[in-house]
């Protein structure tokens, strides 16, 4: 039984804090907007008609519930723990991102907002936002680092087909963090009609909690499905982390099930080293304040933010959601780093043994499964979040494997 007074699920507090993390570090212009959002979200949260609309669209538009799949050949190959995959890559648009986008857009419509802005790295959140905006006939502007626009052309074209305006961001170094800066600059300029649809469990309160709540459908389903399949909860749950929304979505419903081990996998890039060629904020960063919240950040001694590096554009962010920082500090979840090389191996193994082309993001989670499963007993159950499909990544994987795909692979 859960002890109410010792629950890990009560955060954030009224100041939007998870322990010392989170908060509302935004300019005064945005503060009233964030307070309004919080009020409206609190109202929607307890409104049955809001959730009825979500559930209808999750079912008929997104294709939920996503299956919980026993990866039999992978399990045999690893020779230890039983590996289950939560198949969120089968969602419409190919990733978990749309779970959250639907929630925020329904909320935006209730608030009478007519223009939606979003930031995107790999383009998955941008595509999900453009998709839902097309469905509801809303104007959509997506900020994307110029560098990412260059390396994610298929997603850029998808967003344009869906009617979104894609703004290449050249400020800073033109990556995801700069895209978020420019989205915030847009929001501060267009305060009346614009809703900022953040793609991960970061940003000022209430975003980390709100995005987590929308993504928690992943963990809620996984729990029910696992009870049905195995008659018990998994022993270990594992998910990849950039900002950390798919992970928070899987982890949250399990936080008070203390027998369930929770592991988050950060992008170790070329190795968590002094040259900072990685995106492992918890493993290689320290607490700081950026993009509206206090959390672990990659930064130099003077508090200047560093660019991360990862083979996966979706994990390429120098911060992490504040709730993860808290779970890390109190020890409820464990966080590890996986290198590009290990993720690429997992990517290929998954293709070959399961007939599933995973995105590079969950390939990091899978790589950690590959590390630990062989040494675990055969009745140990692991559930990993297959949060995205890898179609978008085949070009960069080919490049890393030294395969020339010609014009198309550019």
């Amino acid at each position: 039984m859960n002890d109410l007074f010792n629950s890990f699920m009560t955060g954030p507090d009224e100041k939007g804090r998870f322990g010392i993390f989170g908060g509302r570090f935004v300019s005064e212009t945005l503060m009233p907007l964030i307070l309004e959002l919080e009020e409206q979200y609190e109202r929607a949260k307890t409104d049955d008609s809001f959730w009825a609309e979500m559930e209808f669209l999750w079912k008929h538009y997104v294709g939920r519930p996503s299956p919980l799949y026993f990866a039999e050949r992978l399990t045999e190959h690893l020779g230890g723990a039983k590996v289950y995959m939560k198949r969120d890559e089968l969602n419409h648009t190919g990733a978990h991102k749309i779970n959250n986008v639907l929630g925020q857009i329904i909320l935006a419509r209730r608030m009478g907002k007519t223009r939606i802005i979003a930031e995107t790295g790999a383009g998955q959140h941008g595509v999900a936002t453009a998709t839902v905006c097309a469905k509801f006939g809303l104007k959509c502007v997506v900020y994307m680092g110029a560098h990412d626009v260059e390396r994610q052309q298929p997603n850029v074209f998808r967003m344009k087909l869906l009617g979104a305006e894609v703004v290449p961001v050249t400020s800073g170094r033109g990556t995801l963090k700069d895209a978020m800066n420019d989205a915030l600059r847009d929001w501060v300029t267009n305060v009346r009609d614009t809703f900022y649809c953040i793609g991960t469990v970061a940003g000022p309160h209430p975003y980390p909690a709100m995005v987590r709540d929308f993504q928690s459908i992943i963990g809620k389903e996984a729990k029910e499905q696992m009870l049905e399949a195995e008659g018990r909860l998994p022993d270990t749950i594992i998910a990849a982390i950039g900002g950390g929304s798919n992970a928070m979505g899987l982890f949250y419903p399990f936080l008070d099930d203390k027998e369930v081990e929770i592991i988050g996998v950060e992008a170790g890039g070329k190795g968590v080293n002094a040259k900072m060629e990685h995106c492992a904020s918890l493993t290689g960063g320290r607490p700081g304040v950026l993009h509206g919240n206090r959390t672990y950040l990659l930064q130099d001694d003077d508090g200047q933010i560093l660019e991360g590096y990862s083979i996966s554009a979706g994990l390429d962010y120098p911060g992490i959601g504040p709730e993860h920082s808290w779970l890390h500090d109190i020890g409820r979840a464990q966080y590890v780093a996986i290198t590009d090389k290990e993720a690429l191996e997992a990517f290929q193994l998954c293709c070959a043994t399961e007939g599933i082309i995973p995105a590079l993001e969950p390939s990091h989670a899978l790589a950690h499964v590959m590390k630990i499963a062989p040494d675990l007993p055969k009745d140990h159950i692991i559930c990993m979040n297959m949060c995205g499909r890898g179609d978008k990544d085949i070009y960069s994987v080919a490049r890393h494997l030294g395969i020339d795909m010609g014009e198309e692979g550019r």
Binding site: M31, L33, Q304
Partner: protein, 263 residues
């Protein structure tokens, strides 16, 4: 009484509006930047707003973003910014200096240590863009306790209900942001700004200074005429960025200051 309070008391006596100039510390390098800052009081600047460079300036437009990048690329740090203030203070003990920037470099240093160093270097006030009243315990309250003014931004989205909260722990002056937007963007209009300043003045005895979107001597005059003064930043920073020598930039600053002082 801080240098800021003393400055406003003196301006009030002569019925003069305040002219505040923003420059980025270390843009394009420490020596040029120090030379510019040292020349500001003679160019008619009443209060100096010194930008602390940060990699992710979310409230700033391109001009100030690039200035921050130049400064960081030139090796500017918090320590060097403080050192610049110390060197300015060797020759000027009256012109107030307000440090404007973002919280992370300060948080990274440690709030208590930063406040001690800032005070010792000769900084009089702080404007930290990403610290709204909801986060007052972070820096605002410790700064006031350490004898530094904490200057708050009020904006067009700060409605009457919220205004008292914004004013509550503010000291020195109130910085009214004339537009919803980033620095160096849309032009501020005196007809829009006037009633807003009046609304704020009805709720506080502190001077109200207007910034964002003021680019010319005429704008400086017209905005200052409906407030207690005005701030110009991006327009000065762009003059410097265009490669003009410091003396020419200071001439431009003088025309802006004269504008405000005519008001």
């Amino acid at each position: 009484m801080t240098r800021i309070d003393a400055k406003f008391a003196a301006l009030r006596e002569t019925g003069t509006k305040a002219f505040v100039a923003y420059v980025m510390a270390g843009d394009p390098d420490l020596d040029t930047s120090l030379q510019l800052v040292k020349g500001l009081p003679d160019a008619g600047v009443d209060i100096i707003e010194l930008g602390l460079p940060f990699t992710d300036p979310m409230a700033d437009g391109t001009t100030i973003q690039l200035a921050g990048q130049r400064a960081l690329e030139g090796g500017m740090t918090l320590d060097r910014t403080l050192d610049m203030v110390r060197r300015f203070r060797e020759g000027d003990d009256t012109t107030p200096i307000v440090m404007m920037g973002y919280y992370n470099p300060i948080y990274s240093r440690g709030v208590d240590r930063f406040l001690e160093q800032a005070k010792e270097a000769g900084i009089d006030g702080l404007i930290i863009v990403d610290l709204p009243p909801e986060e007052d315990e972070e820096l605002c309250i410790p700064a006031q306790a350490a004898g530094l003014n904490f200057i708050r931004l009020a904006t067009p989205t700060t409605d009457d209900k919220r205004l008292p909260k914004v004013l509550q722990n503010t000291s020195g002056f109130v910085y009214y942001v004339s537009i919803t937007g980033i620095t160096g963007a849309a032009e501020a209009q005196a007809t829009d700004v006037g009633p807003e300043v009046a609304r704020i003045k009805a709720a506080t005895d502190l001077p109200v200074i207007v910034g964002f979107g003021i680019k010319t001597p005429d704008a400086s005059e017209s905005i200052a005429s409906v407030a207690d003064g005005c701030v110009v930043g991006s327009a000065i920073v762009s003059e410097l960025a265009s490669g003009k020598p410091v003396s020419e930039v200071l001439n431009f600053v003088k025309t802006l200051a004269d504008g405000a002082h005519r008001a």
